[in-house]
Symmetry: none
Subunit: 493 residues, 2 copies
């Protein structure tokens, strides 16, 4: 049986390598690719998809799995077989021409979305979105075995999670957040103003320093600029990106720390898992728990903001914020904004929740693409209390749907919920945390995350690893407690 | 038959796309990849090779080709079929385990060569070279159908060319070059000295300007630094690299123009050939004809050097060369050097010719690897008139043999020979050339190259496209005439 298992793993190794190559193509597309290469790049993705799909659906996998059925080769082999079985079942259900049509289409539709957003023209994007939605619904139908279409898509990003369970959890979260937000709106706190031009090169210098502070391993990664920051890769090649806005250094700072959290998870996985199904973050939600805990619970803490304020004074000189307390308030201001990625910790999940509801309606057929712009604007007004002024601040702001990512948005909120539980346990286990952060040190915190979560990669199912690490069941309570405590104190409410 | 042809072309399109993806992996490896990712990258290349080889030897290709035998679907289809037949026959002849043994060995032997070169220790490299040579001879035997082994290898790089024909042509070239070089050695011309530190950022700014001057299309390309400059890609994504030496700006300048020539060829190919066998430069020799004519006949001309001198004075200020005439002499100095890649136009081909003779003797078995170092040094002394001082300046200087590239070297000289004929015709057809170049304009020259050669990509066989474009048979006479005229005037001999 060991020989059969070894043959399956050797085969899987090359399939995973092809997937990683496709990941590099995406990184390159966002950072290095010449503009004129978009169509050709689409052909590359399609060819990679064909080659990968052929391997993922190779009938030998079915034979090997059947031979290995019921054998016990230890917990890691069991986890590898679990992941291979899931992937094989999934990929065998999707016809090859559908998979390659999705790859080709989404590579082009992303460009169409980008132009439509630049021109604030939802109608220019709608036909592409309809095509993408149509293909992804076909895919969901192939995957669902007659079950819920949305759950079938969600399962790609967060195995084991369902739309119904999310609906309950996110509903609870929404209640707590709206209450907290309303209290903050009622508070009489004057916002701190920022009026300074932060040099771009110095921001990138600070970004590199911050990645290092949060444990980024430069021998296995690099930092570049991208319009929309992201992290990519795994194992010994995980790359991060950030962006620079001269008027708002927090954009660069917290994008960098966030992406360092994602890459930190990948870099923290046991090195012997490289190129196996266990050698990557186990789900999008668990991934986001890492990026969020780095960015928010650690990076936006009062203690770390105190250290960061000093470093920024060193770098930029007097930038018009007179003390660390004001700087902390500025980094955590609960404002009125349109953009999800720029939202504060309190309102961020409200942005996600509306996307979750809208995309579920799109997938179920309750909402048509032609009505999406209006539905977005109605819901935004209801949830945020002010109106969307233009599509680039509304329905066109996120890339996700243009590349077929339906079922992905709720993993952002799941990540925040997971991070809430993890942080509660981390504080209990690392009592010197605030002192560390006040000195710009994250070593103990990151060692805790590495030890209790990151190292395992795909060994445990998402819910299992979160519950093991946080020492409790998954619920929204720790996140709401944390937010109430932090923002209650900040706003005196 | 059209449907069969279309099926074959659709299949081929994805195989070509995979090859282009592998090309991007190489580009990334040389420009962007974190150091720690080398082993993982090796796994990526191996997985891409497996996926590509499976497609290249897919028996459906044989079936499609058999069905299309004797059909006439027009000249472009005929050319596509010619290329697909050649590639399929080639890949089917080489046993899969031999192909993968070569891939595995050469990825290791390159590292051994690099260490041996760093330590100036040929004996440390010799065992690897023997293995590489042994496997490549086995491959040549599989490819040759009982014919000449060297010709079988050469055919990969310059289809239609033979060792015997090269022997005659390169022998003629050698006679003319040795004669010219001896006259130059006898001339009493004091070399121009260069003693200035050329700022790296300004060199890169100049490099970008020069790529533009030579018609580089930035919407379909980009320029980065690399230790060993190269160009890569095709169609709408062709990238160039250069390097910066503060003491010697010519390194950056002429590397850039050279690589712009390679990428210019790819960018000049008819866009409807993209992702077909016709959508790339037809051979290494024809490719080199473009890089060389950009670099030498245009870029090192007296007229262009005059313009370049002015631009460099604008950029760097007074760098110690007092007039355009001295600058021209400096850019074309015939010195005494060991290194092929740093050689002037007169001596460059002498470097290539000795490699050609030595590698033919290695392949035929007339020369043993253990005797190669001594054979190199003897020949170098005979051809250049001074002795090699250490292996890194001699037999260990080039990477080619370590990665199995036998039959590749002569394409460098073929490129120069082709460029000689092309340039003769170009001068006749573009009478205002010198005036253009003196103003830093290459538009008419490059339009001529595009019209007469580049646009055709793989449509014509190498010799055909060169003869059509240059309006004459292939011979060394135009190159020798050009070199005699240029260097005779420069050195007054």
């Amino acid at each position: 049986m060991q020989a059969t298992y070894d043959a399956l793993m050797a085969f899987t190794r090359e399939t995973i390598a092809l997937g990683q190559v496709a990941g590099l193509l995406s990184w390159d597309q966002e950072t290095m690719m010449p503009k004129g290469a978009a169509t050709q790049r689409g052909e590359w993705f399609a060819a990679m998809e064909t080659a990968t799909h052929a391997r993922q659906t190779d009938p030998r996998i079915g034979d090997w799995l059947a031979q290995l059925d019921g054998t016990d080769l230890g917990p890691e082999a069991a986890a590898n077989l679990r992941e291979i079985r899931r992937s094989y079942a999934r990929n065998s259900k999707v016809p090859a021409d559908l998979a390659s049509a999705i790859a080709r289409l989404t590579s082009v539709s992303q460009g169409i979305w980008a132009r439509a957003r630049a021109e604030d023209d939802f109608a220019a994007f709608a036909p592409s979105l309809k095509e993408v939605l149509n293909l992804r619904r076909q895919e969901a139908a192939a995957l669902s075995d007659g079950g819920d279409l949305y759950d079938a898509l969600l399962d790609d990003y967060e195995p084991g999670m369902t739309g119904a369970r999310l609906d309950t959890m996110l509903g609870e979260l929404r209640g707590g957040l709206v209450d907290l937000r309303n209290r903050i709106r009622g508070a009489d706190k004057a916002p701190v103003k920022l009026d300074f031009k932060f040099d771009g090169d110095k921001q990138m210098q600070l970004a590199a320093e911050l990645a290092g502070v949060f444990g980024y391993d430069w021998t296995c990664g690099r930092l570049d600029k991208a319009v929309h920051p992201f992290s990519s890769g795994s194992g010994t090649d995980t790359r991060i990106t950030t962006r620079v806005d001269p008027a708002n250094p927090f954009n660069c700072i917290y994008s960098t720390i966030h992406e360092t959290g994602h890459s930190g998870y990948e870099q923290g996985i046991r090195s012997d898992y490289l190129l196996t199904p266990l050698g990557r973050g186990v789900s999008m939600g668990v991934h986001e728990s890492q990026s969020r805990i780095y960015e928010n619970q650690l990076g936006r803490s009062e203690a770390f903001c105190g250290w960061l304020y000093g470093r920024m004074r060193d770098l930029f000189g007097d930038f018009g914020v007179s003390n660390a307390s004001d700087f902390y308030a500025l980094a955590n201001e609960v404002g009125q904004g349109f953009i999800r990625t720029e939202a504060d910790e309190v309102q961020y999940n409200l942005h996600v929740l509306m996307r979750f509801d809208l995309e579920r309606a799109l997938i179920s057929g309750d909402l048509e693409v032609d009505d999406l712009d209006a539905a977005w604007n109605d819901r935004f007004l209801a949830d945020f209390g002010f109106a969307v002024d233009k599509p680039s601040n509304g329905v066109l702001q996120d890339v996700h749907w243009s590349v077929g990512l339906f079922g992905y948005f709720p993993t952002y909120s799941l990540g925040n919920i997971y991070a809430g539980g993890l942080y509660q346990k981390l504080r209990a286990d690392v009592p010197g945390l605030d002192g560390d952060l006040a000195r710009g040190e994250t070593g103990a915190a990151i060692a805790w995350l590495r030890q209790n979560l990151q190292q395992f990669g795909g060994l445990y199912e998402p819910a299992t690893v979160i519950e093991k690490a946080s020492g409790q069941g998954i619920s929204v309570a720790p996140l709401l407690t944390y937010l109430d405590g932090k923002f209650g104190a900040l706003y005196g409410v």
